[in-house]
């Protein structure tokens, strides 16, 4: 027990130190690397809190994809004359006030929490068996709060459209400017040949196991995205044009399938995103499978960035 406590305290201390260091670091590159470390450590914290689903997502999205996006942004800024704006005194005061306000609010929520926390967990668990799922997190995501999950996927697509719209007009629908290795390095090609079969299996397993164990579409999709990026960066496969029909199809198939299942709920179950009795699990699996594909392609294209050149005909 005391060992556990000592571990938790040092973990929390380390996390706070890294968070502080991320903010204090002046140069962009060290700050991003520290942010990456922060995401991975936060993943361990979630494991300690027995929230393995959140831990996987934090490590994959917080530590992995977000850091990749930041690294891409940093690489774009490099060499360009970026005017660094210094905030004036009123601006800094306003920022400080806002930070104090948020911190006070958080402190209030943490320290003055009610004796008995309001929770829906027992109810959620009681009715979980009806959906045929074993993982309560998947149950919340696809049964109780399915609308949130659907909208979350649509937001992801909107984010991608946002990135694409940074392209010049004549480049719309072109090939994203992902940094590929100009001279393919032997060792990178080797990794891109050896790792994807394993990675794709792990990604599919994560989505498949997500029904009963920690895992799910988001975590699995992130692994698939990483494998695809690796193959593209090693130049084993070309970066596709964003206007390619199969790319567009992969992007929307998940949300569309989920939406179709949701709409069919009107007919068969009497409500939007309701599942007909006895058929909940297969429908959820279909939604999750297509979402895994869509999330993987979306995340990889987010990292690949806005279109920068047109495909040669």
């Amino acid at each position: 027990m005391t060992y556990d406590l000592a571990f938790d305290i040092s973990l929390a201390g380390l996390l706070l130190a890294i968070a502080l260091w991320t903010i204090v670091a002046r140069a962009i590159f060290p700050a991003i690397v520290l942010f990456m470390v922060y995401g991975l450590l936060l993943g361990i914290v979630w494991v300690r809190l027995s929230a393995v689903d959140v831990a996987l997502t934090e490590a994959a999205i917080g530590g992995g994809v977000t850091s990749m996006l930041l690294l891409g942004a940093a690489a774009r800024l490099q060499g360009k004359n970026v005017a660094s704006e210094q905030l004036g005194l009123p601006g800094r005061l306003a920022a400080a006030l806002l930070c104090i306000f948020v911190t006070a609010g958080l402190a209030y929520a943490v320290f003055l929490r009610p004796e008995v926390a309001a929770t829906l967990a027992p109810m959620a668990k009681e009715n979980l068996a009806e959906s045929g799922l074993g993982n309560p997190v998947a149950g919340v995501l696809f049964v109780y709060r399915a609308l949130d999950t659907l909208l979350e996927k649509v937001v992801l697509l909107l984010a991608l459209v946002g990135v694409w719209s940074l392209a010049k007009d004549e480049m719309w629908g072109g090939i994203p400017g992902l940094r590929v290795y100009a001279q393919p390095s032997g060792i990178l090609v080797y990794l891109a040949q050896v790792l994807p079969p394993i990675g794709i299996m792990v990604g599919i397993y994560m989505f498949w196991a997500g029904a009963n164990y920690p895992g799910g579409a988001f975590q699995g999709g992130t692994v698939l995205a990483a494998m695809w990026l690796l193959v593209m960066m090693a130049r084993l496969q070309d970066v596709p044009a964003t206007s390619a029909p199969w790319v567009r199809l992969c992007l929307v198939v998940g949300p569309v399938a989920f939406l179709a299942i949701g709409l069919s709920g009107f007919v068969f179950a009497g409500s939007f995103l309701g599942y007909p009795e006895g058929h909940a699990k297969p429908l959820i699996i279909i939604a999750e499978a297509t979402l895994t594909l869509s999330i993987g392609v979306t995340l990889a294209l987010l990292v690949a960035g806005p279109p920068e050149r047109m495909p040669q005909r």
């Binding site: 962009i28 690489a75 390095s185 060792i187 080797y190 394993i198």
Partner: protein, 97 residues
């Protein structure tokens, strides 16, 4: 028998932890990128290998043992290759990003 297995585990995991510590000291104290990389990859291979070997008798069932071994193999693969890539990056002209 149980106690012998436990002693085996403690010995190997401690040895692994020692290598991790030595590697970290090397990472902090060595003078340039290549020697620091050297310290880091030694830790991945040997330290993690010892820890996994120590944990193997504690695994419940063959499947868990195989999982432990595949974790070690994957870390070895990525560690070795990433260290090569970083080493190549240091040979290229231009400042790091």
């Amino acid at each position: 028998m149980k106690i012998a297995i436990d002693i085996f585990t403690v010995a190997l995991v401690s040895a692994g932890a020692f290598f991790f510590m030595a590697g970290t000291v090397g990472l902090l104290r060595f003078p340039d990128t290549l020697t620091r990389l050297h310290a880091l990859t030694k830790v991945d291979n040997l330290g993690l290998g010892l820890i996994v070997a120590g944990l193997l008798p504690q695994a419940d069932g063959l499947l868990s043992a195989l999982k432990l071994i595949s974790v070690w193999i994957l870390v070895q693969l990525s560690g070795a290759i990433v260290s090569q890539l970083i080493a190549q990056a240091t040979q290229r002209p231009g400042p790091p990003t």
